[in-house]
Symmetry: C2
Subunit: 275 residues, 2 copies
Amino acid sequence: MTYCVAIKLNAGLVFLSDSRTNAGLDHISTFRKTIVYERPGDRFMVLLSAGNLSISQSIREILQVEKLQDPDSNEPLTIWNAKSMFDAARVLGSAVRRVHERDAQALRLSDVEFNVSMLFGGQIQGEGMRLFQMYSAGNFIEATTETPYFQVGESKYGKPVLDRVLTPETPLEEAAKCALVSMDSTMKSNLSVGFPLDLVVYECDQLHSDKLVCIDQDNPYYRMMHNNWGQKLRQVFDSIEDPVWDDSHTETPLKMPAERHAQMRKIHNPNEKLI
Amino acid sequence: MTYCVAIKLNAGLVFLSDSRTNAGLDHISTFRKTIVYERPGDRFMVLLSAGNLSISQSIREILQVEKLQDPDSNEPLTIWNAKSMFDAARVLGSAVRRVHERDAQALRLSDVEFNVSMLFGGQIQGEGMRLFQMYSAGNFIEATTETPYFQVGESKYGKPVLDRVLTPETPLEEAAKCALVSMDSTMKSNLSVGFPLDLVVYECDQLHSDKLVCIDQDNPYYRMMHNNWGQKLRQVFDSIEDPVWDDSHTETPLKMPAERHAQMRKIHNPNEKLI
């Protein structure tokens, strides 16, 4: 499995991926799932991938040389000459479809689904930052201010903290912290997501970034965040009072008089009917 | 969708379910998923169900009268005469299989999977408390001290807090709070899980319980817990320092010298090869 998250803020973009892949539980390996395409001053793009590794590796190999014939322009589109991130995403979609043409039928004969999903975001000179989620069919959707992040892979464990924290106004470093906390919750609950992590932070309009880092279990910041989050979460949990059933001595009774047994189906003998 | 969680502690059992069902997004209804079977002083059992509602309702209807022929005993087994929770779980499994015989083929013809999963726990006089998770095939597994809880339905959003808090030594009221926090995270991230909630707390060896409560959005305890958890989680998040890229002025640098760009695949021009 995999967990990847990408966040689009007013201040920039954040990308985070783990690097564990598994084919069954007894074949676990490390493969990097983040790749950066950069021509400083002109374009900065990041691709995160989840799903079947043979498919995503083929797509990334092809993407480097993929040319999309476009009726509106003289020369074929590539990710290196596209004038917008939307066009670059179309090139990526075309690479996905090319791999589908090559492999999907043979995979189907082996009962393997053509399963890949990707996050692709960045900025090309002349337009704002954009972030896309790409599906196996090569179609894609774009992040908006209402939905400032996308996840692919094992996304559910780490979603609550993203929902609680992220807005387009969130500062860049805070969003990076949020992505790391989200990853931490995911790794705690799912063995198939694991170190090392790849983190990329891109500041709006810079058209390059040096904020790329590979994080393993010895990373001082990650260790501090992991320990603090775990301990303090536990403190918060402990600080909330336990439920009190007796309704007469508390401002926050769990059971109010009117609710006693209300609607709960309690059956006392075999001849009693279900309500 | 549904979210149900059941916890087995040394001190007792906790059961919590939501009550939302949906057939697509435009057909959302409220159905209770918790049912209590009690003969005070003799047995106390709770059943939580997730999956296809027509299947789980049929199973519950049948369970009341289900008789399992058992070569080891003279009279047929029912949930009301079973001498152990294990035997009661076998009766439930038999009810699941009876509904499968009746409905599975017709469902398959409509491309509907025979999908049901249940949590079934309690205590029968003469033995300890037991907790089972039942699958669609009528087979089941039992909770142990290493795995003190089971979830069915939309389980992932609410799993991290259970993993962080629960052990067999956890007090009963604290475990009830933990289940409610887990439900709160699930409802925050998934629309298909919703109020009202049914909570049952059973104290070891009591063989009956009055700690049954139906919780809606106006419940004072739930509101207090929900607000406190959200606010304090945010405070904890804010209290953890943001990542610092410069490695010279902090004890917890995100990027260590040796890790700069380490292994990150960054591609600068179309002719560069993937590593």
